[in-house]
């Protein structure tokens, strides 16, 4: 078991910066997810952690050891790849035994014929076989040991890949989108199994994904990665409900958060989309702000006026217990999307005029340059930007 710390890692591909001074520390036994859209540099960071790529600047520490320049096999890590990367010419048992054979047998002992004549080989090989079959059993693939990867289903291959990583008890587990090649149902099942695996093994997991659901359900903490930077590292619920930056708020959540441009009218009132909302903001009159409102923060209001937004229904998506109602607001291109409980909003039809209010405590305020403007009552954070500093 080991903690991992990454300090000011930079990586460029030619002229294109991929990672811009990324720092991150991961506690021993933590499940940390790197979440970001494709091409944001998260897989590159993981490969730098593994030693498969070399950073241009910065340093990686695993446990007490600075591992820069150490070969991957010396780093006490294991990795599960998106494509599983199993060796197709070896059966499952050989695939899983290979990391152990490479570590426990000398080069001479691994020779095909000569090796068999050497002493102690039988004992070591038998130990390896026992460990492989024990690991395989714990993953439910004990009966597949003699099969080749080509004869396995996607889920089975995934388990073999996990088994190959598990069998040598690494201090840190790296997973690079391990579930994205599985179908939706299997993905949910394997997600639960990975969570369980982490609890059982208790080692440090670094998990890369672009899937918010995976990040939210699995992680102790989520590190959101956007354009080669880590704007926010926080527990899943904070990433969702209390984002530090507008781009984090916009990346997390589906449907996307509703963003409106507004201007502070006077203390406690903000003009938004032809209406005025009652929001306490520590900002001077006339300050332009952006308001982020999650779809579920809306509620249906009986009548329009101050504190509500009014629009005509463009379309309705039925999700079972909930409705996603798309509203066209006057003077705004993007429709507002509100998530309403189906039983409370039974009679909505397209074209109808609707008034919605938003819970003041769920409205997120951002400065125009995209930083969060925290208000009284918001949870205190290191990242709070006093507005005067921004405007003045």
């Amino acid at each position: 078991m080991a903690s991992v710390s990454i300090e000011s890692i930079r990586k460029d591909y030619g002229q294109t910066p991929v990672l811009r001074s990324v720092s991150l520390s991961i506690a021993d036994g933590e499940f940390l997810t790197l979440l970001g859209p494709s091409g944001c540099g998260k897989s590159t960071l993981l490969r730098i952690l593994a030693g498969l790529e070399v950073q241009d600047a910065g340093s990686v520490r695993i446990g007490d050891l600075v591992v820069d320049g150490l070969r991957p096999k010396r780093r006490d890590i294991a990795m599960v790849f998106q494509s599983y990367a199993l060796y197709p010419h070896m059966n499952v048992a050989s695939n899983m035994a290979l990391p152990l054979r490479m570590r426990r047998l000398s080069a001479l002992q691994r020779l095909p014929v000569l090796g068999r004549l050497l002493p102690r080989l039988a004992q070591i090989t038998a130990d390896i076989d026992v460990e492989v079959s024990r690991t395989a059993k714990s993953l439910g693939i004990g009966h597949l040991l003699s099969r080749k990867p080509g004869q396995l289903s996607g889920g089975q291959r995934q388990r073999v890949a996990v088994g190959r990583a598990m069998v040598r008890h690494p201090a840190v587990f790296l997973m690079d989108e391990p579930l994205s090649n599985l179908d939706a149902k299997l993905r949910v099942q394997m997600r639960a199994e990975i969570k369980e695996l982490h609890q059982r093994l208790g080692v440090t997991f670094v998990y890369v994904t672009h899937d918010q659901a995976e990040a939210m359900t699995l992680s102790d903490r989520v590190a959101v990665m956007l354009d080669g930077e880590l704007p926010q590292i926080a527990p899943p619920q904070d990433i969702y409900a209390d984002p530090d930056y507008r781009r984090v708020a916009e990346f997390i959540g589906s449907p996307k958060i509703n963003m409106f441009d507004g201007v502070v009218r006077e203390r406690g009132l903000i003009d938004v989309a032809g209406s005025t909302l009652t929001i306490e903001a520590d900002a001077l009159t006339g300050t332009p702000l952006s308001l982020g409102i999650r779809p579920e923060a809306f509620y249906l209001a009986d009548r329009g006026g101050q504190g509500t937004l009014t629009g005509s229904v463009r379309m309705i998506e039925h999700m079972g217990s909930d409705l996603f109602v798309h509203l066209d607001l006057a003077g705004i291109d993007q429709p507002l999307i509100a998530r309403l409980l189906a039983e409370r909003a039974p009679h909505i039809v397209p074209g109808q005029t609707l008034h919605v209010g938003a819970r003041a405590d769920r409205i997120l305020l951002f400065t125009r340059d995209g930083r969060r403007l925290r208000r009284e009552g918001d949870s205190p954070k290191g990242c709070v930007t006093p507005l005067r500093e921004v405007v003045g």
Partner: protein, 282 residues
């Protein structure tokens, strides 16, 4: 219904044309072989007869083949051929696989230039190099030995090219996984890449063995000793010194020399095609 029939007819005529073309080229290529086999079972009198027949009036196979085997050291030549081809193939794979791996999967400055040089090597006909190689062999003092027959072929640009194309199709993740599993770069080549590229290895083996088994040009320059000669050179010597105009045994010897190759190719045909096209499509 009508449409289906007419499209069937169309494809039938297309198939006929295809087969006609294939049959014609096939015949053209096979004709010398058939003629060789036919001559090898004819008595001397029939070989120069004006009338044409594939099958002899009087079967003379036993005599011709016995003579081919008894009056020359054909088995010795074939033994030489096996030894030389095996050594060449082994050393080619030993050299080409690591080179191809480096060109396909490792990033280092000058990689593009090196690969360019490999392509240049592919373009050079072997005959151009015969004289320098002869001089080199003389300097090394290995002319007229097995080593002289083997050394020019140890590095095969074609092998490097073929393996590189195949290795390129193997995902990088497999290489990464192998590195994490503790394999050294050379271990990755021998334990992961080469077994995964088995079709390419088989295709290359057939190519290499066929061309060196049949090679006449370089052995003619490199060795003079009868006991070192590979099959084609041996047959040529046989023709000059003993057979004279006795084409029957000569053709019998030629048939025997080609036979192992035909058998080997038929056995490995499936992999050969896969190996040759595998790299091309992806």
């Amino acid at each position: 219904m009508n449409g289906a029939i007419s499209s069937n007819r169309l494809s039938l005529s297309a198939a006929l044309v295809r087969h006609a073309v294939l049959l014609m080229t096939g015949t053209l290529i096979l004709l010398p072989f058939v003629w060789m086999v036919s001559l090898s079972i004819k008595p001397p009198g029939e070989i120069f007869r004006a009338s044409f027949s594939l099958w002899p009036a009087q079967l003379y196979a036993g005599e011709n083949y016995t003579k081919a085997l008894s009056e020359t050291s054909l088995l010795r030549y074939m033994g030489n051929g096996v030894l030389v081809c095996a050594m060449i193939l082994l050393s080619q794979i030993l050299v080409c696989a690591p080179c191809a791996y480096a060109l396909a999967k490792l990033r280092f400055p000058g990689r593009g230039l090196l690969f360019g040089l490999v392509l240049v090597g592919l373009l050079l006909p072997h005959q151009v190099l015969a004289l320098p190689l002869f001089a080199l062999g003389h300097q090394l003092g290995i002319l007229n030995t097995y080593a002289a027959l083997i050394f020019p072929y140890i590095v095969s640009p074609f092998g490097i090219f073929l393996f590189r194309q195949f290795f390129k199709t193997i995902p990088d993740d497999v290489v990464h996984a192998a590195r994490l599993d503790g394999l050294s770069e050379l271990a990755i080549v021998w334990r992961i890449m080469l077994p995964m590229a088995l079709p390419a290895v088989i295709a290359f083996s057939i190519f290499s063995v066929v061309s060196h088994w049949n090679d006449l040009f370089w052995p003619l320059i490199a060795v003079r000793d009868q006991s070192l000669m590979p099959p084609p050179l041996g047959i040529m010597a046989f023709k000059n010194e003993e057979a004279g105009n006795d084409y029957g045994p000569l053709m019998a010897a030629s048939t025997l020399v080609v036979l192992p190759l035909v058998i080997a190719f038929l056995a490995a045909q499936k992999w050969f095609v896969e190996g040759m096209t595998g790299g091309a499509v992806k």
